[in-house]
């Protein structure tokens, strides 16, 4: 009971966080800020996936979480490199 309430609370928090990220993404004035918003979004998404796994008592999406972490990191680096250097792979 308390667990499922806490779970719903946590899921709600991260879903809300995602929407805040979206607002940030759309209102930001600089590119690094927008990238930061997207990067945060990825982290929040991972949280959501994990929490949804708790909710549905399924471990099937943990690989997805892993790959989200990996790809989120790499695309952030790629975007930053693009801003800084133009050429992502030099």
């Amino acid at each position: 009971m308390i667990l499922s309430a806490a779970l719903s609370f946590a899921i709600g928090c991260f879903a809300l966080a995602l929407l805040l990220n979206l607002i940030r993404l759309l209102t930001a004035t600089t590119l690094p800020d927008r990238i930061l918003a997207v990067d945060t979004m990825v982290v929040n998404v991972i949280a959501l996936i994990v929490l949804y796994g708790v909710k549905s008592s399924s471990a099937v999406n943990f690989e997805a979480a892993m790959l989200f972490a990996m790809t989120g990191f790499i695309s952030t680096v790629a975007f930053c490199r693009y801003i800084l250097r133009g050429q992502v792979i030099e």
Binding site: L7, C13, A17, R24, T30, V43, S57, T76, L84
Partner: protein, 123 residues
Amino acid sequence: MSVVAELVIAALLGVGGLFGLIGSYGLLRLREPMQRLHAPTKATTVGVGTALIASALDLVWVTGAVSWHEVLVAVFLFLTAPLTALYLAKAHLGRTINRNEVPPTGTGADWAGFEATPDTPKP
């Protein structure tokens, strides 16, 4: 499941959710670009980390088996967060922050982010 375990997991979940929300909120609230960088790299990471631990514990209590996947995800996030932050900071330094605002290194060398790369003539 014992009440204690349930309470622990619930607490972890609540804290994790809060931290995640605070991180994203900070992203909106903080004024300076460099300040904003602090919010998600930490609060959010902690938020996710907490959620992951809650999930792992939940699985332990539900199935009795230890799930290490969550740990691996958390480790990966912790390993990469500084790099993400570094790159974003560099992006700010390179594109949005006036270099006068940044203190000198104190040694002869300049910050790497401001160094002209040898193979690239600046226009």
